[in-house]
């Protein structure tokens, strides 16, 4: 993984020192909240309902075991003994004190981490495919490009005060979008052109929130050396023409749709013509320099294990077999596999990890996966490089620390925003609803029968839980002071990007879990075969059967 050079290290240490001074001035009363707020937001520090919340940046979700142990230490020492995985592949802490945050930033800097670009109107943490570098279907590892974007965007002086926050994702393959590139301010897809050259398709204007939009293609093929100049051009057009008069209309998606993709692209290209051959040109040597940080691990030469993996999925130990079936995927190196560690359990909020579990996962990463792990945007963890021969042993150890659930990519493997339990903006709670759903679908055979379906819950229209792109989406609303939940169907964050549609009147908190079950029961009746997934069935039969199941003839 990428290792800081002296400049990176100096930047995070200086930032930590500066923030300590700012905290001291705030605590002494030298500056008040109005002055302090923009400073804390530039260091990932929010004020939530019960306490401050610190969001720690994890570039493209990649963590070393040393860094994970440091996060465990921070959770134990400065928080309440747990951390929360986020949809930008970061980790956040819900209970630090202000003085504690100054110490936390020092602790983070000691392991090449920080909390910049996790808040405020800047370019946020760049996300990527959680199986980058190990998946068979990728054109190439996208992480070097995500890292190049990180280096370009960090403290970029021109883009420190954008109209609104700005999110970029880089995918690994044109065929299977695991990074939700169609729902980012900029989505970067690795592609090949007709001549077999590798480059990028660049999308812009995607996003969720109160006005969801699917990203549109700005350029079909961009040679690699122009990546930064092109991103810079898009940001410049946005920075100049994006609205600043209305917070709710300030994201780039509003600009792209107001101008139309043709006019937006024309302005970008016009800007790009002026800077494309300037000092942002990415020479091959620079790309290669960054790529060296992501060189393949020292894999052993092992026989092909695809048939063994298929056999393990049918293992007579059904807990293990189901886990292999749902949570393990083939690796591009023979004899290895990638493991999704589900952080979705009926007894804890989705995405929460205790300090103990963090330490345990770090140990397991050292023992089974070259000391590295990834945070996924679906609030899970991945050990990307596990020998197939060690899967059973790993599963036993995960079960022992309550991380062995076999529910990846199934109904219980949801995205859930913090909701009204923590968030200042929320209208309704998300976490208890999520936990009830996990509990309701705790039967692995029923869950397997339902098959691949994703569910996403947001506690308000800001859509931090990505409800618009859930096959099943739940949106919490406030109806005359009482929490209610709207059900949406048909969303998808993948290559077949689509936005979910509201089924009908909202449900109460006591009704919503049953409503989800009603939808799934109806799907089981409607599907043509077990191979027809929920989303494909929905697209074939439409909303009507589900509406009828939920509301009858009314």
């Amino acid at each position: 993984m990428y290792q800081y050079d002296q400049y990176d290290q100096r930047i995070v240490e200086e930032r930590s020192r500066q923030f300590r001074g700012q905290v001291q001035r705030r605590l002494s009363g030298e500056i008040l909240e109005d002055e302090f707020k923009p400073l804390r937001l530039q260091n990932g520090l929010y004020m939530q309902l019960h306490a401050y919340m610190l969001r720690v940046a994890v570039p493209y979700g990649l963590l070393s075991s040393t860094q994970m142990r440091k996060l465990a230490h921070i959770a134990r020492t400065y928080d309440k003994g747990y951390g929360h995985l986020t949809t930008r592949q970061n980790m956040q802490f819900n209970w630090p004190t202000l003085e504690g945050v100054a110490n936390i930033l020092d602790e983070l800097a000691s392991v090449q981490m920080h909390a910049v670009q996790t808040s405020g109107n800047c370019i946020r943490n760049t996300t990527s495919d959680q199986f980058a570098g190990v998946t068979r279907d990728e054109l190439e590892d996208p992480r070097p490009y995500a890292e190049i974007i990180r280096q370009w965007s960090t403290f970029h002086p021109e883009f420190a005060f954008l109209p609104r926050k700005f999110k970029i994702a880089v995918n690994a393959t044109p065929d299977d979008d695991r990074a939700a590139v169609y729902f980012h301010d900029i989505g970067v897809k690795l592609v090949e052109n007709g001549a077999g050259e590798r480059g990028f398709e660049v999308l812009a204007g995607g996003g969720l929130g109160r006005t969801p939009h699917i990203g549109q293609t700005v350029r079909k093929f961009l040679p690699k050396e122009h990546l930064l100049s092109y991103l810079e051009s898009i940001l410049r057009v946005y920075n100049q023409f994006g609205r600043r008069d209305n917070k709710f209309k300030a994201r780039i998606k509003i600009l792209v749709n107001a101008l139309g993709i043709e006019e937006f692209s024309r302005r970008v290209e016009e800007e790009w013509e002026q800077i494309k051959d300037g000092d942002m040109l990415l020479p091959e040597e620079e790309i290669e320099r960054v790529k060296k940080h992501f060189a393949p691990h020292a894999y052993e030469t092992l026989p092909d294990s695809d048939s063994e993996l298929a056999a393990l999925a049918l293992d007579k130990d059904r807990a293990f077999g189901n886990w292999v079936k749902n949570n393990v995927r083939p690796h591009k190196v023979p004899g290895y596999a990638s493991v999704t560690i589900s952080v979705k359990d009926k007894e804890i909020p989705p995405g929460d990890l205790s300090d103990y579990q963090m330490d345990q996962v770090a140990d397991l990463a050292d023992r089974y996966s070259f000391g590295e792990m990834r945070i996924t945007h679906t609030q899970n963890l991945v050990l990307a490089d596990v020998k197939v021969s060690q899967l059973r042993e790993l599963h036993e150890k995960l079960v022992a620390v309550n991380l062995g659930n076999a529910n990846a990519n199934h109904i219980a493997d949801m995205i859930t925003c913090p909701g009204l339990d923590f968030c200042n903006l929320a209208n309704a709670r998300s976490i208890p609803i999520g936990m009830r759903i996990i509990d309701r679908f705790d039967d692995i055979d029923y869950m397997n029968d339902i098959g691949d379906v994703n569910l996403k819950i947001s506690g308000c229209i800001n859509a931090c839980g990505h409800h618009h792109v859930g096959n099943i989406g739940i949106l919490g609303i406030d109806k005359q002071g009482v929490e209610h939940y709207q059900l949406m169907l048909g969303g998808s964050a993948g290559n077949d990007a689509s936005l979910g549609q509201i089924v009908g009147p909202a449900f109460t908190q006591d009704e919503i879990v049953g409503a989800v079950d009603t939808v799934l029961q109806r799907y089981l009746k409607e599907r043509e075969s077990a191979d027809e997934t929920f989303i494909h069935c929905y697209r074939r039969v439409g909303m009507a059967p589900f509406k009828e199941a939920l509301y009858g003839d009314n």
């Binding site: 306490a51 747990y82 929460d352 620390v401 936990m435 406030d478």
Partner: protein
Amino acid sequence: MPWHYPSAYPTLPAMAKKTPYLVVTASRTDDGAPVYFRAQSKDWSEQIAEASVVQGESVADELVAVARAQERAVCDPYPMYVDRAEGGAAVPVSARERIRSEGPTTPLRRPDPQS
């Protein structure tokens, strides 16, 4: 002991149930904790039951102005509607303020497995 999700929050119809009572609340600077203003001692309590309850928005605004003088200690004071429990203590009307005063309705940290 497995955790059981909480029973439904009491359905307090915030908008429907008009109340004339307000308290002033803020987030404490040191740790962000919700605190409530005590007018007589001009200080803050973590307990909403100890908050000074006033009637009417204009009176509450005056209290906010007093509270604003303490912006080293707290961030962004604001008035919020409350109901009055037996004995006169304030009880938040909205689900948001109720959760804010009582804490999250979810478990905070999973106990370690017993070795």
